[in-house]
Symmetry: C2
């Protein structure tokens, strides 16, 4: 099966965590070596890796900072938790810390408990994500035309690959996803990779076209898409989700044009509704720069909420990472 | 009164038409010399000037190609008409041609009729646009926060200036308007110019913030805007309008969030409804390039309708260019 580099973008080798620099994809496939929590917080905050990759970084950072000192582990957890407000890192770090504290209370070396917890977590997540790829592939029907936004870290491209191997011909439209262009840079690239893999293996073709974020209503009104699939960065107990800015308007438009909206979600872990999710206001420079270059006058003010909340009423179907995490 | 360079972006001086190169604004204020219809078609097709500027180019081109030969004038009109499908240039060129033909039939030199028609047209349009600036200023209330998309060629910035001089404090959010970034490059710049003018003249401050096109639903849901003002490239008799891609989704969202949508329109001239307006599919390279540089892999396919149609049901108020043109 085709596996996208974005599906598992961070791995440990000889005490170094290698993190795929997603800001360079697709022009360069480069891994950033991360050796401690400070470097881990930097790759998260600078969005070198996103969403799922950030969870991998958070978990693996405990292996980099392996220590019997509970206070040190506590400090590592706090630094990770504070790296980005929209993400529920505390849920994950809390579980690792809890295991360490329990081990210490039982006279066991916390290092063993941390390593076992993190490695068990990683194996479980991988199995569950592969299962979700199959569920997404089941949603893809022959002749579907799917709109997607931002990037869902490998799963959609792998599901497209699986569907193509099952004889289903599926088209995709990917939004650019300004200001970071994850759709243009990551999703288009991944779907092209999936297409090449399918071509080499005798599967159906996979086509993908890039559209400006402004094109959503036009595509829907002209019936050029019949399905929307997006990810989520955070899920609430009532079914609301937070995802990359622009998701909310796509959801409103999907309902307006009677197009089903499928969202890949995760467990809510104590967040009751979208109103309980703080929305990260990101530095306007990210809007005013393009590929690291300032493109507008220094006098221009930008306003850049990084995410928005899609109310559950607009979501046709949620495909969750089953249990576990 | 503050006058934006975008309000009147093309003028004739000594047999040369000078056209503001809006693709360079705001980094450079440069005028392109246009000496014949071929050069005029090029500045239109390459979108060196847009919307209203294109009308100015179309009209003035008859002065560049002034001739007693009706066949030549006919050919000029056809070349202009064929430059871009979404725009009703034939309505304008038809009037000029009609005047020339009528003059010839009456034994008058068609050159005189063409010059008089074009110059009368220009004077009339200018007066009507200045009147519309006042009408827009009347719509702006103290403490309003206005979302706008693309660029309305000076009128909004001039209305903002007028409102500020009347003691009204108004905030603006301008969408980037990918792929051409007219909002980021033109609208933000114009509103800043209007703000500086107001500051120098003791008017109220005018603030403007740039947002990604993805931010519209988020702004509306958070009640950060209370009014939307956009232009139109074409208007139909039933009130539908065609405007820059992304206008349709903003209109749907404005209705969703009960925010009034004000559209600056023009006479429909025989177009019954939005369905009768051909939508120009523009070269996907415009989506795949940024500031003239290819930013994505050459294998990436783009899909780029330049405009979309806003159904009249979504328009709260139309401010028309009164009669005339």
């Amino acid at each position: 099966m085709f596996e996208s580099p974005l599906f598992w973008p961070a791995y440990i080798k000889e005490d170094v965590l290698y993190v795929l620099d997603e800001t360079l994809v697709p022009s360069k496939i480069k891994y950033i070596p991360v050796k401690n929590v400070k470097a881990a917080v930097a790759v998260i905050r600078e969005m070198k890796t996103r969403a799922f990759g950030q969870f991998l970084v958070v978990l693996n950072t405990f292996l980099l900072e392996l220590s019997s000192d509970l206070k040190h582990l506590q400090k590592v957890a706090e630094e990770l938790n504070n790296s980005r407000p929209t993400f529920p890192f505390a849920e994950v770090t809390g579980i690792v810390l809890g295991a360490a504290q329990k081990a210490a209370a039982n006279g066991v070396d916390p290092r063993l408990a941390v390593a076992k917890t993190v490695q068990g977590f990683l194996a479980g997540i991988r199995a569950r994500r592969l299962q979700r790829v199959q569920e997404i592939a089941d949603e893809l029907k022959d002749q579907d035309s799917v709109l997607t936004h931002c990037n869902v870290s490998g799963e959609l491209a792998m599901a497209a690959s699986l569907a193509a191997s099952q004889g289903k011909q599926v088209k995709f439209f990917a939004t650019e996803t300004r200001p970071y262009m994850q759709g243009a840079k990551l999703t288009v690239w991944e779907l092209q990779q999936a297409g090449s893999h399918s071509d080499r293996n005798g599967g159906c073709p996979i086509s993908v076209a890039l559209v400006a974020d402004n094109t959503v209503a036009s595509l829907m009104a002209d019936r050029l898409v019949n399905k929307v699939i997006i990810g989520s960065d955070r899920s609430a107990a009532n079914g609301d989700i937070a995802n990359k800015i622009g998701s909310y308007q796509i959801a409103v438009l999907a309902r307006e044009f009677d197009i089903p909206l499928i969202v890949l979600t995760q467990p809510s872990r104590g967040v009751a509704s979208g109103a309980d999710m703080p929305i990260e206001m990101r530095d306007a420079d990210e809007l005013l720069n393009f590929d690291g270059k300032k493109i507008f006058s220094p006098r221009v003010q930008g306003f850049y909420p990084g995410f928005d909340v899609v109310p559950h009423q607009l979501i046709t179907k949620a495909i969750a990472i089953n249990a576990g995490l």
